[in-house]
Symmetry: none
Subunit: 226 residues, 2 copies
Amino acid sequence: MSEATRILVVDDDPRIRTVVRRGLAYEGYRVVEAASGEEGLEKAREHLPALVVLDIMMPGIDGLEVTRRLRSAGDEVAILMLTARDEVKDRVVGLETGADDYLVKPFSFEELLARVHALLRRKAAPAGEVLRFADLELDVDAREAHRGGRTIELTTTEFNLLLLFMRHPRKVLTRDVIMEHVWAYDFEGESNVLEVYVRYLRGKIEADGESRLIHTVRGAGYVLKE
Amino acid sequence: MSEATRILVVDDDPRIRTVVRRGLAYEGYRVVEAASGEEGLEKAREHLPALVVLDIMMPGIDGLEVTRRLRSAGDEVAILMLTARDEVKDRVVGLETGADDYLVKPFSFEELLARVHALLRRKAAPAGEVLRFADLELDVDAREAHRGGRTIELTTTEFNLLLLFMRHPRKVLTRDVIMEHVWAYDFEGESNVLEVYVRYLRGKIEADGESRLIHTVRGAGYVLKE
DNA sequence: GGATCGTCTCAGCGCGTTCTAAGGTTCGTT
DNA sequence: AACGAACCTTAGAACGCGCTGAGACGATCC
């Protein structure tokens, strides 16, 4: 993506959060923090991170429950679980619940970074990935789309935008979220680039009499749905 | 692959060896066992495995030393290290020594299998002698290409670049990826070597009225496709 | 020492991509 | 129905990416 990958760090221990935040920020990631499971779920919805570093042991909603809720909401975000105890059971339960990998505390930052890289490579850009929605396909490797038997070439911005939609189908994406992900704008600078690019995309993927896929939600943003 | 992938399991604990051997054999791998570091080095030389599952704690030559010797002998085999103690230092030293990944004992077989798969995917080095794409052939041994009945001589850099494309057809390779693979740059300074070499390649493999094979993807990189 | 080959730098330019801006259209609210 | 806000559409300006040709530099061979 044009902008730095977002990572959400959920841990009730502020020291862990700080270490992880600083290290990942130094590596060029955009880091969002949450001090509890509740806050984690909220921030995940708000920022659409590519990966969540999630402590398993937390008061209130613990890491396992956060994972369960994210997954049952259809969120496929990469989850790296931090387990305090070194017990097979914990790790297995974590993976069964829907986490993608785990790391046993205490860990060095280098270990965390290695797992983060591996996960992002595996999850965010798996080889041969083809995203599908309705009769629309997005070939991530080739950076091209397919619909109605034709191949659709996309520019970088068009691709990034469509990728965001395809990764969050049926979910209303607000203007702010889209702008942050595709254009890296922190600030609304009064621009209609987004509308222009939605039009470009529609022109390419909704040719002729094909059904509309990118719908406008007035006052909110856009959704990918039938 | 024409033959089953070979995996060498080095551990002084026969129970571990048995569990791992049975599981991996069930998955279709050819498993070779060794009960000590010395035997491990010997079997590695003899069988040229694609991956070594290596216990770190062994009497005599331990896992770290085995790794060191393999690496200093130029062996790039994938190494998955088994560490008994859950101490950061052990794991980090293991990775620094040249291991590719580690697993903390006790582990479930599923965990082991996941790591083995990931490692093989990452490290696998397909040594095809002649790569083909469309009407273009790349003879890896002779380091020359063929198209339209003629033989195309390539310089080292041209060959490496074309090899990368041929190994990832129809996949957009970003500038960074190409630079890392072909030039091993940390890309500090801006350079357009890549563009220059793409031009050289195009000049050689897309002579006259032949169709374009290396396509530019503006803002991203290049793709090999029809 | 000269010639050839391979690698890489540099600067100018063309053109695709991105974005702005202005006017038009639709929608929701009253 | 009327109004303003939100969104759509279009054209074209501005930007910068990638292409190109020339040549500097070092290595190798004669």
